[in-house]
Amino acid sequence: MSSLESMLQSIKANLPKQKVSYPTIPSYESGPEDLLQEFQVNLLKAGGAFFKVSAIAEAQEIVKKIHPDASVICSATDEWKGTKDSHRVQQPHEMADVDLAIIRSTMGVAETGMVWLREVDLMISSLGFLCQHIVILLDPKRITRNMHTAYRQVELDKNNYGCFVMGPSATADIGAVLIHGAQGPRSLTVMFLEEPPIKTA
């Protein structure tokens, strides 16, 4: 007998007699109309920051002010050209020197202030975690109500990796004091900026 079969056999022998049915899960979509406003409030609570911009250049100017010392900027989006070419990175370890990562997210969640980042958005997943600071580009139209509506859009079957990120990396393990920049990014800034039109070949 294979180890899977013997595990299944052991489970079957112990299954409770009374079966319980699977419930219908509502999506609880009532709530304030303004999703962008709710997203912003929750992002701030999670220790994140945001700016509304109308062009990449405007976002870049802001970044110069808030991260004046960032010398290695690695962008995983074609909209923003960094100083380190993400297309040339072969190994995840190479992201260790990144001061600032630029990533476009395809979804924000109003309920929590989270942004959704997939492997395809990060190019090399380690970029989102080894960098010192992170800037997220997000189209305000891409904000969804809550976790129920968010999970309708995640397409886990098509993405080997995806992460909901809610503010910067945090810990309260020393003396219950909240600290940002535990192991991952020390800060997270969302730039609300419409998505560029999709290039057609």
């Binding site: 299944l8 489970i11 309920e111 380690s126 886990l156 079957d157 080997n160 004091v177 535990a182």
Partner: protein
């Protein structure tokens, strides 16, 4: 026979350590409990979500064989190698075999209660593999040589002073530096090179989704993502009870998990792994380790619904004062009391008595586990196996004799009354009398209730 954990002594040791640790522990957990209450009140459908979470878990557990098969099939389809371990020893051996095949000498890992339960780290270290915990709290406990004291806040019983002293000794920080921020910074700098040098990363899982073969890991530090995204090899240990049928179930569970744990809407990182990263390799070790047997225990199988949020620990008046290490087990607090005896009934036989049965744990459980009722069921089992703590057993058999004989009861009552008057205070508050150490004896009424009743009845007539 395994040595019985003396939880009363362990708790007493923690309480009497000094005037700092226990009050701080109590205060910090009370804060988490209060923050949970606030978070729950802010979600109008909170009670509905708890019911849904409970029902989804019960549905899954009563169809567990089907969902384990589906999960395995879908994970394998995405190129993940799935292994099956019937117990801790098999789990550890599988992990070790994968690591040796890849000649891995050092690993980083994020928090996994299952790996704790299996004693994986000491096993791997015994085979010459260096294991580094990536969660700050877990790392603190690892450097102390202690198990995590809380399932969500592993080092919650340590003060900043303790940690300053530990880091000074282990990673060379200034012993006078007692600033949480710079201590964190020192550990961050110490951990980075280890992340980059590790040959493999290990994680646990909070949930596993049958529909897609995905597993989900929740962290605040992003350490599971670092663990998974840097080394070429990712191994995840997953208990069979972690399976959920569908992706949409996560909407319910993510909404209740962290609100129950710490009062936050979610953890900073909710990470979903469905397949290996680009150029990497991924293994899952699905582990039973007594879970299928527990599924067959009519009174106790509901404990498998647990999502390890720790809300029952934060709310427990006994846990808050005892500290998690007092339980001498992987799982502490109310949930520990009902889980631990399924691993070793004798060793953990005194845990079910470490409860006031106030029922607060049952009230806060996000998946409606009847924790306090299960504690009573375990007491019944311990009593029937003559595993009740000796002092309690003696007390109860004496009470049994007395309560059956009213005359004897009244005599004992009178005697107790006079004894308390005669016995010198010094004797009452000796070390052996644990009650006397933290409490003053009650002042007794001038007469017993029965004497008073009789007298008043006479007056009435």
């Amino acid at each position: 026979m395994s040595k019985i954990v003396n939880i009363v002594k362990n708790s007493s040791d923690f309480i009497h350590l000094d005037n700092v640790h226990e009050p701080m522990h109590d205060k910090n957990l009370w804060a988490a409990k209060t923050s949970r209450e606030k978070a729950a009140a802010e979600v109008p459908e909170w009670e509905k979500l708890r019911e849904l979470a409970s029902q989804i878990k019960e549905h899954t557990l009563t169809h567990l064989d089907e969902y384990i098969m589906q999960f395995t099939h879908n994970a394998e389809k995405r190129g993940v190698k799935v292994h099956f371990a019937k117990d801790a020893a098999e789990h550890n051996q599988i992990v070790y075999d994968i690591l040796s095949k890849h000649s891995v000498r050092s690993i980083i890992k994020s928090k996994s209660m299952l790996q704790e339960e299996c004693g994986m780290t000491p096993f791997l270290e015994g085979h010459g593999i260096t294991v580094t915990e990536s969660d700050l709290g877990e790392r603190i406990q690892q450097l102390y040589g202690e198990a995590p004291s809380h399932i969500v806040m592993p080092a919650i019983q340590k003060t900043t002073d303790d940690i300053a002293k530990l880091f000074a000794e282990k990673i060379g920080t200034d012993p006078n530096n007692k600033d949480a921020k710079s201590l964190n910074e020192a550990m961050r700098n110490d951990a980075r090179p280890k992340f980059l040098a590790a040959g493999a990363g290990m994680t646990g899982a909070n949930f596993a989704i049958a529909e897609t073969g995905t597993f989900v890991v929740c962290t605040n530090e992003g350490n599971a993502d670092l663990t998974a995204s840097i080394p070429p090899l990712h191994i995840a240990s997953i208990g069979i009870e972690k399976v959920l049928p569908k992706v949409e179930d996560l909407g319910v569970f993510i909404r209740v998990l962290t609100r129950s744990a710490l009062g936050n809407p979610a953890t900073e990182y909710t990470s979903h792994f469905t397949g290996p990263r680009k150029g990497g390799e991924m293994h899952i070790v699905l582990t039973d380790n007594g879970r299928s047997r527990r599924l067959g225990m009519t009174e106790f199988w509901h404990s498998l619904k647990c999502i390890r949020c720790g809300a029952c620990m934060n709310t427990c008046p006994v846990y808050r004062r005892s500290g998690g290490l007092a339980y001498g087990a992987t799982y502490s607090g109310p949930i520990g009391i009902i889980l631990d005896p399924t691993f070793d009934q004798t060793k953990y036989s005194e845990l079910p008595y470490h409860s006031s049965l106030c029922g607060s744990c049952t009230e806060v459980c996000p998946v409606h586990i009847n924790i306090s009722e299960q504690i009573i069921e375990w007491r019944k089992i311990m009593a029937s196996h003559r595993l009740m703590p000796r002092g309690l057993a003696a007390g109860f058999s004496m009470a049994d004799i007395m309560f059956k004989r009213p005359a004897l009861f009244r005599l004992a009552e009178k005697m107790g009354y006079w004894m308390l008057k005669i016995i010198p205070k010094r004797l009452l508050y000796i070390k052996q009398n644990a009650w006397g150490r933290n409490r003053t004896m009650p002042t007794l009424a001038k007469q017993t209730f029965q004497d008073w009743y009789r007298e008043n009845q006479k007056k009435k007539i």
